[in-house]
Symmetry: C3
Subunit: 262 residues, 3 copies
């Protein structure tokens, strides 16, 4: 685990461009800022070229997609590919909404992505596995999540993070897990969106997307766990705000003390 | 008062679809999640059919309407009517902006709604009563709010909630009141939007819209009051976050202890 | 310094219309409400006329501009000019994105604005000065910020606020500074957007835009400083929420005690 990427990130303060969803965008911006990146959001295709040039990585989030936004994402995707900037893709609700699954597949055919971050239901849908997803929630399935994650990574030729109580990460060959976390992540809407953007911040400063994905996931999960341990009575509303505080102050040594992964 | 609807809601975890306004959407999503529902937001008309199919109820909020969103709401409204999913309508600022009043009337002619939730000025405007509304605020009027609520419910053939320091609820025949609450609801932008979505969550699991409206209003008002009593120095910013915490943990017994209604 | 404008504002509770960005809009709405104004947001050009008529001042924020929003801003700008309602302009990221700079210049040629509020990089870009801006951040430059602010104010014939650790305010003749504040403003995304909207609230109730700008900037900076002093361990996430609490309760006497300006 390359925990020093966190220090690298804070030193370089990379600009991370997000085509965001409007539900969680404020949390995403503040979390990126807190971890040490510089967030920028854009909705206008006419500024895509400059935005991608300025950014060190890109997040594309399907959470409240519109046809206009899909066109913008295609443009951003093409430009980021050309400029060799890592793209993190967040396929919100593709497990529950076929229109979104088709849109995601269309986007993934238009340009390669470095990393996909979704919940189990979203990753299973992208990989073509049976899963009973439900709205924005992971739902439940009987499949082997290691296999689903690995096969989806192979199929889409990228790193895949299936996040949840245990996070499963694969680049198609290797499989890694992060066991840290807290149920408050599921209770707070937008935890996945925030993780995707933080993964993009790590990918912005580290060439190996598997290591970036693994480390970002551990940092995020462990930071939430630290907060939940310090404030055992915290609820899902205040958790979101305090998590931003914790992201801004968490140190490699804090994470090393509690890190559980393989 | 059917307070057990709260337990029913938590057991069923219904998907509530929102055509939301972009000012308060994050609070709405987190509050829905906290009370025990599964929020999903959508801006794209092409996914309306799948979204309505997946949802158990729908909220349409005029807070930052666009012509595109109105077209989406018409589609969602027609589909929800067809599928017999309850629609909660939140006519933000129709008392102050004639364009919004006309839009609301146009929507209400296009499809029937189960429940309308607004402040006094908004409900008075929909009912055709004199009232001095002001922006997003209720403003002031000399009319009898019981009569305004009841007549508006009769006119629009649905349940109407006029929320405020006292909440007035009518299905055109019966009139109910909820006396719980705290002035912090008015101090925090979006309390009305959140209430509308919580009403939709209750309506998703309970067939009688009057009972669903009455119970949801009591649960919301009493939860805010509990928070204000526990933290008497809390301000309007932190109130919003802690209210989400309280919504996630409030129990029927807590509400029964302080419930004031008729 | 006309600190009594704060009391005037709270007495008059002016409606402030915002063409907002979707990243920080919830903070903006709650902060306006907390300081004593009545926020209203709009995205639809068809309601621009009524919205401007209802409002006492207007904020135009480029943070997540779209071509549709630019058309709306032109309409709002023309109507507000006609009705003599002060316009506050927030040129987010014009120092880093040429498309935004051109859009800002186009808007500023279409209608006069009362006050521009940006960070050093944004103000330098509008004034035509060299500056190394970076995304939404101010970046760094070697220019004299007093001169940049004053010349930009002369060039654009309005009041200019270059906000930062020290805030510099000029109407082209006079130059004022506010030395209060806390680094948490930079750590919390949207502090600038919130300040712009609060400036609009002050301009809504006070005829002299230089005095309104100066006082609003002091009130905002000092309120943040008071919070940071009371809670020295607060992080950037909880800071945003508590700042809303503090804006709702801060009194002229509290500010007078710590005010540092010239």
């Amino acid at each position: 685990m390359k925990l020093n990427i966190l220090n690298e990130l804070r030193e370089k303060n990379p600009v991370v461009l997000s085509a965001a969803n409007f539900v969680t965008v404020q949390d995403v911006a503040n979390s990126l800022n807190a971890i040490g990146a510089s967030p920028i959001m854009s909705k206008e295709i006419a500024e895509a070229e400059e935005m991608v040039k300025m950014a060190s990585s890109v997040t594309l989030n399907l959470g409240t997609l519109t046809q206009l936004q899909i066109a913008q994402m295609k443009k951003i995707g093409a430009l980021a590919t050309q400029d060799k900037k890592p793209i993190v893709f967040d396929p919100v609700a593709v497990g529950a909404v076929n229109y979104r699954l088709q849109t995601a597949q269309d986007l993934l055919h238009s340009f390669p992505v470095s990393i996909i971050r979704g919940n189990a239901g979203e990753i299973a849908a992208l990989g073509g596995f049976e899963w009973n997803a439900r709205g924005i929630d992971a739902g439940s399935g009987s499949g082997n999540l290691d296999q689903i994650t690995q096969k989806t990574a192979q199929k889409l030729d990228c790193v895949v993070i299936a996040s949840g109580a245990t996070d499963t990460i694969s680049n198609g060959k290797k499989i890694a897990h992060v066991y840290n976390g807290t149920p408050l992540f599921q209770a707070h809407v937008g935890s996945g969106d925030v993780l995707s953007s933080i993964v993009a911040a790590f990918a912005a400063v580290w060439a190996d997307p598997f290591e970036a994905a693994q480390t970002a996931t551990l940092v995020f999960a462990a930071t939430g766990e630290l907060l939940a341990k310090d404030q055992p009575k915290i609820g899902p509303g205040t958790f979101g705000m305090h998590l931003i505080d914790y992201l801004s102050k968490v140190q490699v040594a804090d994470i090393e003390k509690i890190a559980k992964f393989d």
